[in-house]
Symmetry: C2
Subunit: 344 residues, 2 copies
């Protein structure tokens, strides 16, 4: 077979503020690949099907001289994130042609993986492949692992849980895990349509934070025993102001401050002392060894049965990756955002 | 005996910003008490010797309609805090004349205590009575209980501990407890004289945060594994910026934000996520049942032996209480501030 185009999304320069499609990230078709002859060196050749788009990718677009747990993307090389692909050729006995694998991929159509970090997905439930980068992927693990580690041991009958970005990939799952504990769940989202969706997940109070003041909602519906923070800023401030004594805050993300030089001034931090509040900042990667086996055993089944609902925002074509990331950072997506690189 | 004057410090109005001597707090000599005839109703009559002055008293000067773990002081009644006094008369068999007792007292010369909340101090080590509102009182318990609960289980060989307000009543004890664990201790204070004192406690790095940038010190001497926060604001921000992965922050106080409408904007809160940081806000009162017995068994002895050093700032006369509190809030005291109401 003659070589085919191998489209890629190149990380072109470090952004200030929001990434700019065509500037920060550039779609490039200059490379080709010969699917029959490309050397594998004992690895596997994968045709990429789905790539995940997540807010934390913005965090990797920093000056590489600043030490960070998340290594900076390298300018001039492809963007990266979790994805699902299908094995085209294999020189590794752990994988065979036609296997579907979950791994960290560069944003390109065909990828050679030399190490054996890819996980074969058996998918006996017949979920869509995109589910494996969403409800059964990183966002699902983030919600599940974080909830199990920090919230589940603390939650008590009669508690009030407040979840921000509750229509988002992580927040929607957290809201459902909280409801499954039998507590009152307050959830915020950024449009009336998203609020309707969040309400359909069974939460008790859902509101559009762009129309209704978070602090007024919490003053009426709180105090808050468990706060799941995906956004930081004004929501965190309101949760501090109306926190219950000995409240638990699970700090999963602070999307409101990722693209600004001067973040919102959180004025109620001294409540940490007076209300004896605990903040648990976390990355799901540190919890994988403790919770991932149980997650893969239970989550696909709960999703297939409809116990855990999810919503996807699927964008076709690798060339639309930059806009998709910008939309996620600006809250324009509705549901877990993923790029459909190719059909199965 | 004829009645004697019973001087008091009245909480006169809710302050905005710093309390104002003669306005927020007024010294009053209008009341008298007959020490022989004052009815005790089964309680004890105590001559107050020492009263503690602490930053948290400012926190109780709020609008009482705002619910708070610390009840607001009642306008028109005396200021309150921990103190030590000597029993003048007793109708309670648990106490006898001449016993020294530790209790929460109103700021006045003679007090009738009706309930049996006072703790008799045996003081076999012969410490000064003021030590029992300082290194062996609330600040000592705050340092000890908080360290034991949140820092001691986490601290590891090679760790770096950063303590703010390290010449203060709590900070100086925390710095010594940290050094006793064999780790590197960085300590900040607000004058060169205080820095010399902190250095004399054996810390590894001591600096005057008014002359040297906290972030530059931490950039050079960090990253910080355990941060003990007494001040909040800029110090907290620097500790976040130069926190080690999975750092533990013990949030004991935020004195920098108690008297301002718009606190310093802490810009690095998203480090909570990327560095997987835990904030433990706490009040020592919640830890008393777990640690107080061990504290009273060990701390007076460690102090008597000189293992734990302390410094006092003793102010004579109840009439100087308001200025003493203002000095504490503005950092003008040096050592644990207490009012000597009367000699033993």
């Amino acid at each position: 077979m003659s070589p085919v185009t191998n489209g890629r999304v190149i990380y072109n320069e470090i952004p200030t503020g929001f990434p700019v499609p065509g500037k920060t990230l550039i779609y490039d078709e200059s490379q080709t690949i010969d699917l029959d002859k490309e050397p594998l060196h004992g690895g596997i050749l994968v045709k990429v099907l789905v790539l995940s788009i997540d807010p934390y990718q913005r965090h990797r677009m920093h000056d590489p001289s600043i030490p960070s747990y998340f290594p900076a993307f390298t300018v001039g090389t492809p963007l990266e994130n979790d994805g699902v692909g299908v094995v085209v050729r294999s020189e590794n006995p752990k994988y065979k042609k036609g296997d579907h694998v979950y791994a960290m991929f560069p944003f390109q159509e065909y990828v050679v993986l030399r190490d054996a970090q890819a996980r074969v997905i058996d998918n006996k439930e017949g979920l869509s492949w995109s589910a494996y980068v969403g409800v059964c992927g990183m966002p699902g693990k983030t919600a599940h692992h974080g909830w199990m580690e920090y919230a589940h041991p603390k939650v008590q009958k009669g508690d009030v849980v407040f979840v921000t970005a509750a229509s988002g990939a992580v927040g929607a799952i957290v809201a459902q895990l909280a409801k499954a504990e039998g507590v009152k769940v307050i959830a915020s989202a950024g449009s009336d349509e998203k609020v309707d969706y969040v309400r359909s997940l069974g939460v008790d109070v859902a509101f559009n934070y762009k129309k209704v003041s978070t602090r007024e909602v919490l003053q009426k519906e709180g105090p808050v025993n468990i706060y799941w923070d995906n956004v930081g800023g004004e929501s965190l401030d309101a949760a501090l102001e109306f926190a219950a004594q000995k409240a638990t805050f699970v700090i999963c993300g602070m999307i409101s401050s990722y693209n600004v030089d001067e973040p919102y001034n959180v004025k109620h931090l001294q409540q940490l002392v007076w209300r004896e509040i605990t903040f648990n900042g976390f990355l799901y990667t540190s919890l994988i060894s403790k919770y991932a086996d149980e997650f893969y055993k239970t989550m696909p089944g709960r999703v297939a049965k409809g116990e855990i609902k999810y919503k996807e925002h699927l964008v076709k074509g690798l060339e639309n990756s930059a806009q998709a990331l910008l939309d996620v950072l600006q809250g324009n997506n509705f549901g877990k955002s993923s790029i459909i690189v190719s059909e199965d």
